[in-house]
Amino acid sequence: MRRVVITGAGTINPLGASVPATLDAMQEGRCGIGPLEIRDVDRLSVRIAGQVGGYDETAHFDRQQLSLYDRFTQFALLSAAEAVAQSGIAFNGALAERAGVVLGTSGGGLNTQDDNYRAVYEEGKNRVHPFIVPRLMNNAAASHISMTYNLQGPSFTVASACASSNHAMGQAAQMIRTGLADVMLTGGSEAMLCFGGVKAWEGLRVMSKEACRPFCATRTGMVQGEGAGVFVFEERDRALARGAEILAEVAGFAMTSDAGDIVTPSRHGAVRAIAGALRDAGLAPERVGYINAHGTGTTANDRTECAAVRDVFGGHAERLVISSTKSMHGHLIGGTGAVELLACLMALRDGIVAPTIGYREPDPDCALDIVPNVAREARIDVALSNAFAFGGLNAVLALARA
């Protein structure tokens, strides 16, 4: 089977507007969560979030582009630009038809929807901008990436809530493995921080009003974030032949469904996804040094995830390290797996494991080495990235050092 490697990475998220800035923040254990600044925030009870700060869309895009680019599309395009530049790839000639883009998102152009529902319902307007549909559609980001880089092969969008990015990246890897494409841009993007978006989450009563502190005994829930991560996935021989720098190998992937509850996670579903990714990669569990946890900071997820890790790894669970970078950037929902994959790349390439910040008190149900508060140096050969979505849809990626 053909092998898949990563030759480029790009991001914009609450920790930074590039991969180096994000990794610096993760190494420092910096928190990107702060007061939420959106219209009508005074009518929300949850007023913190991982927002992309200091962002001026007009600095990156012209007026015509902005009439078509929702915030989630903007984030995806900025991330793709960084990833493509790093990989040094040009999509011309025959390659264009052998390249595509699979992106994850949950809300798509939710800000566009929110703004325009406001216009017609609240403000009573009877007219909206002609491009609202192409601006809000979930595939807008994938389509604009394909147009920007001339990717003429298979392109589409994956929506599986909090697992969207991992499902997208897993799909992209499979497409290269099986010969459907040679190069894929993949990852995810989310921009749900608008009044309607946060209000809906508020209703579920799982949101923290103070911080996201995964695995801590006194954790109080999740915090929403926004942003994107995009990677260049490339067939390994092709990347080697053109002398590209290989950031990591996408060694395995698995997806499972709990077929249980619409919001409560299942330990067994998580176990099957983690074990499945290892089996797909042909790797013994003992090879895994780091797991980037789903680690949402909710009571149910963190407890279930730790139990699942113990089930899969047995005694090795005591030796590997696991951390949740959501403590720093929040939960980017459909974009979260992509940004979290950066922590796996950092562990594999730089030998630095991102911490779980905000940790105060051990929880006996989460008694693993969760790298509390301070980043750590460690030689990591294999890293996993977990994503367990509402709806019981699980997707786990296994990355190996290049």
């Binding site: 949101m207 009003k209 954790r219 829930g221 409560t264």
Partner: protein
């Protein structure tokens, strides 16, 4: 004598538990009534709508919330207190 608030809260809880209000005892816990965490969140939403109040409740930390959900009696008492706060 049962108060109006009590009757209305019991009706909401009974509806969530798929029971008759007469089957709900003041000493019952949500678990006794077969109400899981999602059911509880729905019941609290219904209570907020019924009384036009805001109930402080985080599903991650029910014990840590200011709203005591340990029994039907405690829920009724907490709602009464929130309703009273609102009218003063």
């Amino acid at each position: 004598m049962t108060s109006d608030v009590e009757t209305r809260v019991v009706r909401i809880i009974a509806e969530q538990a798929l029971l008759e209000p007469s089957d709900v005892k003041m000493t019952d816990t949500p678990v006794d009534l077969g109400i899981d965490s999602m059911g509880l969140v729905e019941a609290i939403f219904a209570i907020e709508e019924e009384f036009d109040i805001s109930v402080p409740f985080n599903a991650n930390d029910p014990q840590g919330s200011a709203f005591d959900i340990s029994s039907v009696r405690s829920i009724v008492a907490a709602v009464k207190s929130l309703v009273a706060d609102q009218t003063t």
